[in-house]
Structure formats: structure tokens, C-alpha cells
């Protein structure tokens, strides 16, 4: 039986060019994850509130696109910080690191931006620019600690960056109380209007929404990360270290430095995300509570959903923004906020399983297309196309025809 054309295309190996990234297994698996998550969400709705379930489900799926420019603007607004944290986590993934400390780096960046926003009045028109830059540096600095520990003391970055989340959160809570505290509302002082990121014309396209220039900055970050990873020797080195530290070392790449740089870039992106939320001009302040910033963890989801590709990350963040806004609209259907959170969380949870679906599809297609592997070679050793490298072979083979 001849395979359908789209299957042939999906089975082509992952080509890392921009145009083809959307047309392979990865997209399919991400979509599948989303669909499964949606179905789970629907089941929860049916159990908790059967009569309103379909209406509420419709709200999640339909309301953001049918709500007009304002609602679409809100989707972009909620996606903005997630694009950054997603890029940060995804960048680390691409270079072989799991930066689970996105939350702490995001918080540190946010605090730095707030400080500039509250006290940087003499910076004039540059206040928001400086705020963003300082936040980026703060995120990078915070991430450099687990980076340095990983590179020079072999401390696993997952452990150290998780710890840095808590240290960062409590430190910022403490610093806010000390330096820029609004005790009436238990939150940070409002930033000056001149510290708010300009709307950059987005207010005309999406009137009445919170979306602002931060979204454009996020898109620029997507492009920059893409270029670094795909086009530069720097990205080549960082990825080389991520894929195979030993081979990178063999090629003369300083793998320790590369690890630190990777973590710092990842942290810088997360820190920038913090600035984009607190300098958005929406009146959102840092609330002093003992909770780790959600944006960091959703960044991990976004990175997984987008399979760490910058463009995938942007799409993943837009998706999370979309269901967040859709979730708000469910309140019209008698769903209590907790249920809404559970449903959105379920969808996100399932989205995070995109990799499982990828593995699943891989298996299914492999069975069907057994004759060749992804590159058109006969598969003799299945291990050769899976992730684990084959075990080293002991020296043997010298097919000598005759003896000396």
C-alpha cells in the first residue's frame, strides 16, 4: 500500500530550517497533546457541571477568537511573558540543560524592573529601556549561579536552580518590603508611567486590551534566539556542548564556559519576561506572597510544547495565552474559578506530554514504514535511530583473508 503523501512528509527527518519545522512529527505530537488535554478538560467539566459543560467548553475554544480585537489583544498580552520564559527554558534545553529555575530568574528580573520603574525617574524616556536591560542582566546573573555550579562543581542544574527559585522568591519578597513596599495592598509600589513599555501602536490594532510593546519585544527575542541557535558559531558551540559534551571538548570548545553562557542566556530571557510583565502599564504589581511565579513553570510547559524551537515556543505561549483568556470567559457558565484552573491546568499538563506523543507517533510510523529509517536507510539496528547511542564495540574485526 502506498503511504499517503502527508505521512511521507511527516516521516522526513527533522530539517532544521524555518520553513519545514511546522511540517513534521513535532507539530503533530504537540497538536495531539493539546487535543487530549482538551478532552480531559471536557470530561472534568461534564463531571463537575454537566448542564453547562458544553457551553463552557465552547467558551474556552471559541470565545477568544470570536471576542474581537480586544480579546485577541488579551491573548497576546498573556502570551508575552510566557514567550520569554519559554524561550529561556527552551534555549537551555537546546543546549542540554534543564533550567527549572526560570521562575526565580523571572522574579529577579521583575524586581530589577520594578526598582528602575519606581526610582528611575531621572532616566526620562529611557526609563523603560533601562528597566528591561537591568531585568535581563538580573535574570542572567541569577542563572549564572547554577550555571557556574554545574560547570565547575558538577552540581546538577535541576537541583541548584530549583533552590534558586525559592531563594529568589523570598529574597525579592524581603527586598520589596524593604525598598518599594505598598503596605496597604501588600504589593510593590506602582512604577512610574514613564517606565511603562510604549504600546508601539498595538493599542490601535487591539483597542481596549492590555497588549503593549512587550509583545513586539518578545517577538524580537524569538528572532534573536533563532538566529543565535541556527546561524552563529556561538550557537553551534552551545548546541554541540548540549548534544555531546565530550565531543565538544574534543573539538576544542570550552564546554564549561559554554554551560555558563547557556544558563545566563536562558536566565536573561526569563528576567526579560519579568520586566515585560511589571512594566506593561496594566497596573499589575508584584504581590508579596510566598508563591513561586507561575510564569516560570508555564515556561517549561511552553518549551516542551514548542519542542524548544523558538517558533514553536512562540506558538506554545500563544496557546497558553489563548486558553487563559478562554478560561476567564468560562465564568459566564457558572464554573467556579478553581474548576477553571483545574481545566486549564489539565490542558497544560497534557501539553507538557507532547514528547510522549512524539514517541508514540514515532513507534506507530516506524511499524508502518518499516523498510527504511528516517534517512532512507534500511534499519538494521533499531538503536541506531533511537536516542541512546549504541554501546561501544570492543575491538574485533580484522577480516583477514589469509594469514601473514
Amino acid at each position: 500500500m502506498k503511504k499517503p503523501v502527508f505521512l511521507e512528509k511527516l516521516l522526513k527527518p527533522k530539517d532544521r530550517t524555518f520553513g519545514t519545522v511546522l511540517l513534521n512529527l513535532n507539530l503533530l505530537s504537540a497538536l495531539m497533546a493539546i487535543v487530549v488535554g482538551m478532552l480531559f478538560g471536557l470530561i472534568i467539566m461534564l463531571i463537575s457541571n454537566p448542564s453547562q459543560a458544553l457551553g463552557g467548553f465552547g467558551a474556552i475554544i471559541i470565545s477568544p477568537i470570536t471576542g474581537g480585537p480586544r480579546v485577541i489583544g488579551q491573548v497576546l498580552y498573556f502570551a508575552t511573558p510566557l514567550i520569554l520564559t519559554g524561550l529561556g527554558v527552551g534555549f537551555a534545553f537546546k543546549t542540554g540543560l534543564f533550567n527549572i529555575g526560570a521562575s526565580g530568574q523571572f522574579t529577579m528580573g521583575g524586581y530589577a524592573a520594578i526598582m528602575i520603574g519606581v526610582y528611575g525617574g531621572n532616566l526620562g524616556g529611557f526609563q523603560w529601556v533601562i528597566g528591561i536591560l537591568v531585568a535581563t542582566v538580573a535574570g542572567a546573573a541569577w542563572a549564572s549561579i547554577p550555571g557556574l555550579l554545574k560547570a565547575y562543581a558538577n552540581v546538577h542544574e535541576v537541583i541548584s536552580s530549583i533552590m534558586m527559585n525559592y531563594i529568589g522568591m523570598y529574597l525579592v519578597n524581603y527586598l520589596i518590603r524593604k525598598t518599594c513596599y505598598n503596605s496597604l495592598k501588600n504589593e510593590s509600589l506602582a512604577v512610574m508611567p514613564s517606565a511603562n513599555i510604549p504600546k508601539m501602536g498595538l493599542n490601535h490594532i487591539f483597542p481596549g486590551s492590555f497588549v503593549n510593546g512587550g509583545f513586539i519585544i518578545a517577538l524580537i527575542a524569538v528572532a534573536v534566539v533563532y538566529i543565535i541557535l541556527q546561524k552563529t558559531t556561538f550557537g553551534y558551540e552551545l548546541k554541540a556542548v548540549g548534544y555531546n559534551k565530550d565531543a565538544a571538548k574534543y573539538a576544542g570548545i570550552n564546554e564549561k564556559k559554554s554551560i555558563v553562557y547557556s544558563m545566563m542566556i536562558s536566565g536573561a530571557l526569563c528576567g526579560l519576561g519579568g520586566a515585560l510583565i511589571y512594566l506593561a502599564g496594566t497596573g499589575k504589581q508584584y504581590t508579596v506572597v510566598d508563591i513561586l511565579a507561575n510564569e516560570g513553570f508555564n515556561g517549561i510547559v511552553v518549551a516542551l510544547l514548542g519542542l524548544s524551537h523558538p517558533i514553536g515556543v512562540a506558538l506554545g505561549a500563544l496557546f497558553i495565552g489563548y486558553i487563559t483568556v478562554g478560561g476567564f470567559n468560562m465564568q459566564l457558565y457558572d464554573f467556579v474559578p478553581e474548576i477553571i484552573n483545574i481545566i486549564t491546568a489539565t490542558i497544560i499538563y497534557s501539553a507538557a506530554c507532547a514528547l510522549i506523543f512524539k514517541g508514540l507517533f514515532h513507534k506507530i510510523f516506524k511499524k508502518k514504514s518499516a523498510a527504511i529509517d528516517l534517512n532512507g536507510h534500511p534499519i538494521e539496528n533499531l538503536r541506531a535511530v533511537s536516542d541512546a547511542p549504541p554501546p561501544p564495540e570492543p575491538q574485533d574485526q580484522q577480516k583477514k583473508g589469509g594469514e601473514r
Binding site: 548534544y243 574534543y250 529509517d373 534517512n375 574485526q397 583477514k400
Partner: protein
């Protein structure tokens, strides 16, 4: 009852795109040593994996002691008395020898392991067969040769009477091979039936009674070893006459390129006082191939790591073209003339998730030729890759865009060789350059290595394979326990003599 203890009748096993076993019939008599001869990829290992239950045949039947059986897994095989030492040892690296041997057949009392009986039995077995091992040593700490003994003990411990040896001699010294041959003969004399997978004709001649020859998944014939000469066997195996004798024109040896003096690398593990490289002293000159021969685990890897900068040496001096490079980085040494074909091509030689062209510029991506202002010149890289692919006949599914992981071992190795010799080097260090490759690939790798020498480069080859050493070397250096103990002329040295050096029972002075 049939005279055969093992009968594998008309076995066919197909992998996607390839028939690994095509209608193969193998019959082994009780108490015989039956060799299974064939090249890499001939289907020997697949056939044995089927017998051992790791694969299920697509068609064909297996009879053990006359009974038709379905070997559905290694445990079933074990119950049938079949044991196997694998080519790639299947041992748990952080277990002790004792734990590894009893794994899966532990004697238990009330849920607790009873190690004492097991220990006694293992000690008795290892004494009986001369398989000396320390039962409490960690697998990761013992040599590959030792690990093999553990594998053999595993079979004996399980009282297996059908023993499969999958290329067991690859890592042993000539002396150890002799021992193993004796062990095998003893085992056969005790009535155990042995299947011996190999491609070494000498060994077949020495121990085997009969031999089945496989080629490209098909059974070519079953021969009586005593009545058949080696030439016939080798022709059956390869299907043509292969002549590996490398034609080397005589060359005058030129200036010294590499000079190594008292190089020492300590063992970084706590409690290990024996140096990995122990005062190695030697040199390599232009226009010669110097081969470092030695048994696996005598410091070869660490010596090369130290030479290339992957590992710091603790003392000693490395001089490259008159310059002391002892403290220089990997990259400094690489751009100042060292090309390195590493021992483990997956770990060091390639970034398997990068495509072929990205791998081909792994040592040169930072040069002005391939980058400008930090941006990779992708067009130039592709063009260069295409050139190398053509020149070195690197075959892959999609040319330069093929992900390295999906390429065959031979072509991966060719890519590494191409990358390392197609830049301006003075010294090529090649570690086991033909490991795991098939005949065709070996031939072309040899050709490239000799061509380097003929271009007046210095070539240093580290090999565990004596035949390779004798084929290629202009000069043989012998490493034993991290020390260079011999500097021999291959034309005046026999394999036996070399073996004595490798085993540490003979040593000479090495002067620079």
C-alpha cells in the same frame, strides 16, 4: 535421539530492509567445538541471539537435545542450558564481580541473599578453569579482559552445557588467547558443547572441530576444520580473495614531529595509586607510521587524552614540532598540527545529532573560511562537505544533510578520518581506527592512513589488533601498564615476541 544437541533448521530472520538470516541451518554435536565464521554483518550474532532468545525467528525451528523448543527469552535459554558471552559484555558496571555472576539466579533464604555459597562456587570454578578474578572487584574497575572472564564464569555458574562464545578473543593477549583455547578444549572434553563465533582463522584451526561459514545472511557451507585449509575458509567467508597487505613504498624517515618524555597521568580515582600513564617516553617522526601495540586497558586511552589535551598530565613533557605543548588547550594543539581520530567515535568523534556537514567542520567551524563575524557561512560549509563526501566516498542517505546518528559505522568513521586529515596537520593520532568496521571500510581507512605517511606526515596509531599493527607499522611501540616497554622493528619481530612484550614478560630500552 538425534546426534545433534543443537539444531537450528531453516532459520530466517528479517530486519526492516535486510535479511539478517536467510534459511540458515546450524547443527552442533554434543561435545564439539563448532565455529561460526563470517564477516561483520554476516548474521552470526543475529543467529546466536535467536538461539539465546533475544530475537524470535520469522521462520524455522530450533531443536535442543532433539526437542523442538521456543526460546522466548534468555531465561528460557538458561533453563535449556544455553549460556552466552556477548561481544558487548552485558554486565552491571557498579556491581561487584560476585553480584554480576549471580544476577538473576541468586540463592535466597527468607528473602535475604545468601552470598557465601555463591562465593565458594565461584572461587572453585575460577580456580578449576584458571579464570582468575577478584569476586569483590567492581565491574567498572576491572579490565575488559577480566570482564570477559566474568562472563564465562557466569555461564559456568549456571551449569550451562551449551556455551556460546561471541568473539571472545578480541581483547586478549596471545597468551590469554592460548589459555582461553585450553579452557574451551577442557570444557568440550567435559561434554559441554561450544559455539564459537569468530573471524580469526587461527583460532578456528586450533580448537574447532567443525565450522559453519556464513556470508551475508546465508549459510555458505559446513566444513571439517582439520580437512580444510585457511585459504579456503577465508575465501568462503569473504567471497573473494582479500589482500590486506598494504603496499607501502619505502620512505626515509624525516624529522621528529612528536616527542614525549616521561609522560605520567595519575589515576584520579581515590585509592588508586597505580599511574594510568607511567612515564611514557617515545617519539614519532615524519614519514613513518608508529603503532602503539598493547592489551586493552594499559593506559592507551589516557596516553592519547594527554597527547591531545583532553586530559591533563601530571608530569612529563610533550613537544610538538619543537614546541612544548604540555600545557596547551585541545584547540591549540589541534590548530598547531594534531589530527585525532578518537577511540570512541560516538563519544568523542561525532556529534550524532548534528548532520554530516556540521560534523565535518567540527574542527574548523571557527576559521575565517567557515565563519564571518560569528555567523556560520552555511553555503561554504555545504560546499566543503560535498567536496569531502566525494573525495572520501562517505555514503549517507542525504549527503551533507544526513544526521550523523543514522549513518553506518564505516561511513561515520570515514567522515571523522576525512575531517581530521583534510586540514593542515603534521601528526595524525588514530586510535583503533578500524574498530567495528567491515572489510571495505577497513581497506579504505588503511589507504588513507598510509597516504598520510606517504605525504610525509607523522602517523601514530594505537591498536589492539596485532594484525593491524603488523600491516601498518613502520615501527612498533609496545605499551604495558602505562609505560612504553618496547620499540620494535616489525620486520624483525614475530607476533609471539610482541605478545611477550604486551604481556609484560619482556621489555627493552626505549631511547629517543
Amino acid at each position: 535421539m538425534s546426534e545433534y544437541i543443537i539444531e537450528m533448521l531453516n532459520i530466517t530472520k528479517e530486519f526492516p530492509g535486510i535479511k539478517a538470516n536467510d534459511d540458515i541451518t546450524l547443527q552442533v554435536k554434543k561435545g564439539e567445538i563448532h565455529a561460526l565464521l563470517g564477516e561483520n554483518g554476516a548474521g552470526k550474532s543475529t543467529l546466536m541471539s535467536i538461539l539465546f532468545g533475544l530475537y524470535q525467528p520469522d521462520s524455522g525451528i530450533i531443536r535442543i537435545r532433539g526437542q523442538e523448543v521456543h526460546v522466548t527469552g534468555p531465561r528460557v535459554a538458561n533453563d535449556l542450558g544455553i549460556g552466552m558471552t556477548h561481544q558487548h559484555f552485558k554486565l552491571v558496571h557498579n556491581f561487584t564481580v560476585l553480584q554480576s555472576i549471580i544476577l538473576g539466579v541468586e540463592t535466597v533464604k527468607a528473602g535475604f541473599l545468601k552470598m557465601d555459597e555463591a562465593r565458594e562456587k565461584i572461587v572453585a570454578l575460577s580456580e578449576k578453569y584458571g579464570l582468575k578474578v577478584d569476586p569483590d572487584a567492581m565491574i567498572e574497575d576491572i579490565t575488559v579482559g577480566m570482564q570477559q572472564r566474568v562472563e564465562i564464569l557466569k555461564m559456568l555458574y549456571r551449569d550451562n552445557d551449551i556455551l556460546i562464545f561471541d568473539e571472545p578473543t578480541a581483547v586478549l593477549t596471545p597468551h590469554e588467547i592460548d589459555d582461553l583455547m585450553d579452557i574451551m578444549k577442557n570444557l568440550a572434553a567435559e561434554g559441554k558443547s561450544i559455539l564459537f563465533i569468530t573471524h580469526k582463522l587461527n583460532e578456528i584451526k586450533e580448537v574447532a572441530d567443525r565450522c559453519s561459514v556464513l556470508r551475508r545472511g546465508k549459510l555458505i557451507g559446513v566444513i571439517d576444520v582439520d580437512a580444510t585449509d585457511k585459504e579456503t575458509m577465508s575465501e568462503m567467508m569473504v567471497g573473494r580473495k582479500v589482500n590486506f597487505d598494504v603496499i607501502k613504498e619505502d620512505r626515509k624517515v624525516g624529522d621528529e614531529v612528536l616527542r614525549v618524555e616521561s609522560l605520567t597521568v595519575k589515576n584520579p580515582l581515590a585509592g588508586h595509586n597505580k599511574n594510568l600513564v607511567n612515564g611514557a617516553t617515545f617519539n614519532v617522526r615524519r614519514g613513518e607510521i608508529a603503532c602503539i601495540a598493547g592489551v586493552d586497558g594499559n593506559g592507551q586511552s589516557q596516553l592519547v587524552y594527554a597527547l591531545t589535551g583532553l586530559m591533563k598530565q601530571d608530569s612529563g613533557k610533550i613537544t610538538l614540532l619543537g614546541e612544548d605543548v604540555s600545557k596547551k588547550t585541545v584547540r591549540y594543539r589541534s590548530i598547531h598540527g594534531i589530527g585525532h581520530i578518537p577511540e570512541d567515535r560516538h563519544r568523542y568523534g561525532l556529534i550524532l545529532d548534528y548532520n554530516l556537514e556540521e560534523n565535518l567542520v567540527l574542527q574548523t567551524y571557527f576559521t575565517p573560511r567557515f565563519q564571518k563575524h560569528g555567523f556560520l557561512k552555511k553555503a561554504d560549509i555545504s560546499e566543503y562537505a560535498d567536496k569531502l563526501i566525494k573525495k572520501f566516498d562517505i555514503r549517507s542517505g542525504q549527503g551533507g544533510k544526513t544526521i550523523a546518528r543514522s549513518m553506518s559505522g564505516g561511513n561515520q568513521q570515514k567522515a571523522i578520518v576525512a575531517r581530521e586529515i583534510d586540514r593542515d596537520i603534521d601528526l595524525l593520532i588514530a586510535v583503533q581506527p578500524t574498530r567495528g568496521l567491515d572489510v571495505g571500510a577497513i581497506e579504505s581507512i588503511y589507504k588513507f592512513l598510509v597516504a598520510q605517511r606517504d605525504e610525509n606526515k607523522a602517523v601514530l596509531i594505537i591498536s589492539l589488533d596485532l594484525d593491524e599493527v603488523f600491516h601498518l607499522a613502520d615501527r612498533i611501540l609496545v605499551i604495558y601498564e602505562g609505560e612504553i616497554v618496547g620499540n620494535l622493528d616489525p620486520d624483525k619481530t614475530t607476533a609471539k615476541e610482541l605478545g611477550l612484550y604486551m604481556a609484560g614478560s619482556k621489555r627493552g630500552e626505549v631511547t629517543l
